[in-house]
């Protein structure tokens, strides 16, 4: 393993400068609605195409125009892709945050800014920063007339300057620009002109003072750069979703919208102009989940996309799904709660809300993907789980995973058949009958708690049944009988318990001799390798268990506790929601005493240092 580089750069004195190659984080502080996103994407993509491991994050406000936004790119030859706690290179474009942005910089960081708009004073006042002022408005004076367009294009100037100063390959940037604007030749030209203006200015007026450089690497192989929501949508397409009901909400809307776009392209029947995908932008989340469960009941693979507030609103219906055994998939792209909270910030705050959604005794299947790869995969197989277990399945992304750019191994084309579970065809029903077995919609015929279900329209005279959220017996008949009720509830538990061993199992990463265990899940994974490298450098060997679903794989979790002296549970929420689910199942004596929580809840994605510091503190090394 490599030494933890953040420590190196962070503690590095501002002089003498030590060359740092392919290892920095750049942040552009802009105003939303000004079109900086396009410039930032070009910069990010260029680094990606140079084969350097990287990731990019957009820190945006819950607002449409005029408020501060920060776009951060982290490039790391070590392949570290989480947010870095401290910034190496600031690009200042926003007057309202300028002073604070500068004040927050670590000693010796680089700062570049639009000197036509922002004052030099804060940088001067600090004295320790490497300064690159650029009169960006002047640079593009001749390029465009329209004021709004100018505001957008000015961002290309810093792309140019950074390109020059870091040594990004010009052809790469040009190609990225060409790809980005595709057929719009005019846009390509004007953007290139601004890029060039920035490059020229840097060449002429900004002698290199910083230690950062980028160089072509070959670390990215066949990878793609993608947002979790986008690739999850592809997973849904391949997983065979045919009905979607949704209601817009940040940060989940882009998942739905990506899927709609995919379906428009890939689900249109050329022959009769029909569409093999039905999507309804519903009037609210109660309607979306109702639509999903109605469609699932009638045999379609169905889904919805939402965030915390939607989960709350869906609670009653989700209970119906559990109890009446209706399949359906709910994508919850988590944002910061409680209530409206910080709608454009990230958290793992719905772990419990999803797992125990609704009143009464319930427990739902919840998948926790950690990467674009898993976003694709879990999205795809979530429909199998929903139909196999005939129950609502949650897929919990978070804003960091869903809306930020991550490198990802491209999924290989899926040829696996759908697992439609125990759908009872007329033939199967005849077969059962012939074998002398009486079928009942809620009868456990196979000992796994999972009953057989006919789809509406099944013409077999014995197939019809009545579905309800009130008490019912094995044959779907209304019942208030206490023993019938208990039997049904026990079967439901058995069914859900069965999923502990079939859901995606935890992933274990070990090093020889580790006494410390770290348990995490979801997007936290992106900071884990770096955190464990930092720990190793500080003399703490650690093993790592990554949870991928609940109900938990109890055995694996128990084993992990048995084999470690202390287990740090890292979560991006305040209350230790996954910890509670672990406490629920741990039975090994003394196991719970080993729990050490590491919790992060600021709305910013967790960084490696927060984890390693947490562990080091627990280990008495801090």
């Amino acid at each position: 393993m490599n030494p933890p580089p953040e420590t190196l750069t962070a503690s590095q004195p501002s002089t003498p400068l030590q060359l740092t190659v392919n290892d920095l984080s750049i942040e552009a502080a802009t105003v939303n609605g000004t079109g900086s996103q396009s410039a930032n994407n070009i910069l990010a993509k260029s680094l990606f195409r140079m084969g350097i491991p990287m990731a990019a994050k957009n820190l945006f406000p819950s607002n449409i125009q005029g408020l501060p936004t920060w776009f951060t790119i982290r490039a790391s030859k070590h392949g570290y892709t989480a947010r870095k706690k401290e910034l190496d290179w600031l690009i200042g474009m926003n007057p309202t945050t300028w002073e604070k942005d500068v004040a927050n910089l670590r000693p010796g960081a680089v700062v570049m800014w639009n000197s036509n708009e922002l004052s030099d004073a804060p940088v001067k006042a600090r004295g320790d920063l490497i300064a690159y002022p650029i009169p960006m408005n002047d640079c593009i004076k001749g390029v465009a007339a329209d004021a709004k367009l100018k505001k957008m294009l000015v961002n290309m100037v810093y792309v140019g300057a950074v390109t020059h100063l870091l040594g990004i390959e010009e052809e790469v940037v040009l190609k990225v620009i060409a790809d980005q604007f595709k057929s719009k030749q005019k846009a390509v030209e004007i953007n290139v002109a601004c890029l060039r203006a920035g490059m020229e200015y840097a060449k002429a007026s900004l002698p290199k003072k910083d230690p950062y450089r980028v160089e072509r690497m070959d670390a990215n192989g066949n990878k793609i750069l993608i947002e979790g929501n986008t690739i999850a949508a592809l997973g849904c397409l391949m997983g065979g979703v045919t009905v979607m009901g949704w209601y817009p909400i940040t940060p989940s809307s882009s998942l739905a919208e990506a899927l709609i776009a995919l379906a428009k392209k890939h689900r249109v029947d050329a022959a009769n102009h029909t569409i093999r995908f039905a999507d309804v932008q519903c009037e609210d989340e109660l309607a979306s989940i109702g639509l999903v469960l109605g469609a699932g009941w009638a045999g379609a693979r169905s889904m919805t996309t939402t965030a915390g507030p939607g989960i709350s609103l869906m609670s009653e219906f989700v209970g119906l799904g559990y109890y009446a055994e209706l399949p359906g998939v709910i994508f919850d792209v988590q944002r910061v709660g409680p209530s409206t909270g910080l709608p454009t910030r990230t958290a793992q705050g719905d772990v419990l809300a999803a797992a125990f959604c609704s009143h009464g005794d319930t427990e739902h299947l919840v998948l926790h993907p950690c990467s674009p790869e898993e976003c694709y995969e879990f999205a795809r197989i979530s429909f199998d789980y929903a139909e196999r277990y005939q129950t609502p399945v949650f897929v919990l992304l978070d804003l960091d995973l869903g809306m930020n750019f991550w490198m990802c191994e491209p999924p290989s084309y899926t040829t696996e058949a759908f697992d439609r579970g125990k759908v009872l065809s007329p033939a199967k029903l005849d077969e059962l009958k012939a074998a002398g077995k009486k079928w009942g919609r809620y009868l456990d015929m196979d000992g796994d708690g999972i009953p057989w279900r006919p789809l509406p329209g099944n013409p077999h005279p014995d197939a019809a049944y009545f579905t309800r959220g009130s008490g019912h017996d094995e044959y779907a008949r209304y019942s208030e009988d206490p023993e019938v009720y208990r039997r049904n509830l026990d079967r439901l538990r058995k069914k859900i318990e069965g999923s502990r061993t079939t859901l995606p199992q935890p992933v274990l990463e070990t090093v020889p001799g580790a006494k410390v265990g770290i348990l995490a899940y979801g997007s936290t994974n992106n900071a884990m390798r770096e955190a464990r490298d930092q720990l190793a450098a500080a003399g703490v060997k650690s093993d790592y268990l990554r949870i991928r679903a609940t109900p938990l794989a109890t055995a694996a979790v128990e084993k992990f506790f048995k084999e470690h002296e202390r287990v740090y549970i890292v979560e991006q929420n305040r209350d230790g929601q996954m910890e509670l689910m672990i406490r629920q199942v741990l039975t090994t004596p003394g196991a719970v005493d080993k729990i050490r929580p590491v919790r992060h809840y600021t709305g910013f994605p967790i960084d490696a240092r927060t984890i390693s510091d947490g562990v080091l503190a627990g280990e008495g090394k801090r």
Binding site: R49, I224, L225, I226, L234, L237, M238, G239, G240, T242, V243, G245, K265, H266, N272, H273, T274, I275, R276, F277, A278, V280, C282, D284, L286, A287, I289, G290, L291, L293, G294, A295, G296, W297, A298, G299, A300, R301, S302, E316, F317, L320, P410, Y413, T415, A417, F418, L455, P456, G457, P459, H460, P461, A464, Y465, F466, R468, G469, S470, Y478
Partner: protein, 345 residues
């Protein structure tokens, strides 16, 4: 389920008992049971395939009734006020299904108001029956939002709020089939139910259906007695199935003959008026006027039989349904998949 042998069968080869359900557990004399009976009869006469019938509902005495008809169909008794959304889901999943949703006035006009309005707006192809008794039957007689101002409850309370007229509301929202029936008027209801099934779009049947246990007293405006006294028939209806011959020749101006998408015809003969049920504005006016007079206007109030239904508007009408789509239907070819991914490099 009756077990009559040698039962007659309809054109589809099904017996009346195929359209019946479990014995009702409602109060003796409940209006809802009359509606159930008429649904059974209408569906039998229409010859629908029972296994393609989907019966949805919310929660309430009314919402229990889908268990009492078409036992060979599939029932989905959902949660309170949310029958519309599960119905849309089912219809999108399989547009061959013949969906009938049953709701109550509490279920539709209170908790379900939002879903109801949006269902109407989307013109989902289904029959939507509101079994309207002006009270919450199952929770023992509280006023509902269709209870008239000034109406007295069984325990003597006076309703302080204006009622919601579901027919006027539906028309205002762009509904395409709006009718009002009375649970005691089987003849009218039978024609209305058949026309609802034949209509392509949301057919809203507001059926006044007295609650004999909690809203059948003096002072109630939804008691059997009161409704009988105040029921004003807007029109006489004749429903003619595709295989039937109209019983009488229609003279121009005497009645409106409306061809429905499945080949059947609806003959609407105004009672002391020549209301054309295509006239949205006249429909609203009639409702408002009858309301002022304290009358309960029943019959076919408004129809727009040529509007697109949801599945059509969304082009979700491939003969192969969403529920049947397989891997080949759902996945783009490998090349397209790779090409898409390539856009992210």
């Amino acid at each position: 389920m009756s077990t009559v042998t040698n039962e007659k069968t309809n054109r589809g080869g099904f017996k009346l008992s195929d359209y019946q359900g479990l014995p009702s557990t409602l109060c003796k004399g409940c209006g809802h049971d009359n509606i159930t009976r008429n649904i059974v009869q209408a569906y039998y006469e229409l010859g629908l395939e029972p296994h393609n019938v989907v019966k949805t509902s919310g929660i309430g005495c009314s919402s229990k009734t889908p268990a009492y008809f078409v036992h060979r169909g599939y029932g989905l008794n959902s949660v309170h006020g949310r029958m519309p959304s599960v119905s849309v889901g089912a219809k999108l999943a399989n547009h061959h299904l013949q969906v009938i949703g049953v709701s109550g006035d509490g279920d539709t006009a209170s908790i379900g108001m939002g879903q109801f309005c949006h269902l109407v707006r989307r013109n989902v192809d289904m029959v939507y029956v509101v079994e309207n008794n002006g009270v919450y039957g199952l929770t023992k007689g509280q006023f509902s939002a269709t209870s008239e101002r000034g109406a007295k409850s069984k325990i003597g309370e006076v309703n302080e709020f204006t009622d919601i007229d579901l027919c006027a509301l539906t028309i205002t929202l762009g509904g395409t089939f709006v009718a009002r029936g009375f649970s005691n008027d089987a003849k009218q209801m039978l024609a209305l139910i058949k026309a609802s099934v034949a209509h392509r779009g949301t057919a809203m049947l507001d059926v006044i259906s007295p609650c004999v246990t909690f809203n059948n007293h003096e002072g109630s405006t939804k008691s059997i007695h009161y409704v009988m006294e105040h029921d004003i028939k807007l029109n006489e209806l004749g429903f003619v199935s595709p295989w039937e011959q109209p019983t009488a020749e229609i003279k121009p101006g005497e009645a409106v003959e409306i061809p429905l998408p499945d080949g059947s015809h609806l003959i609407v003969r105004g009672v002391n008026n020549n209301h054309d049920p295509h006239d949205k504005f006249a429909a609203l006016q009639l409702l408002e006027e009858s309301r002022k007079k304290g009358e309960i206007l029943t019959g076919l109030i408004y129809i727009a039989e040529k509007e697109r239904d949801l599945n059509t508007a969304m082009r979700v009408n491939n003969p192969k349904t969403m529920a049947q789509m397989d891997e080949a239907d759902c996945r783009p070819p490998k090349e397209a998949f790779e090409k898409y991914l390539n856009g992210f490099r």
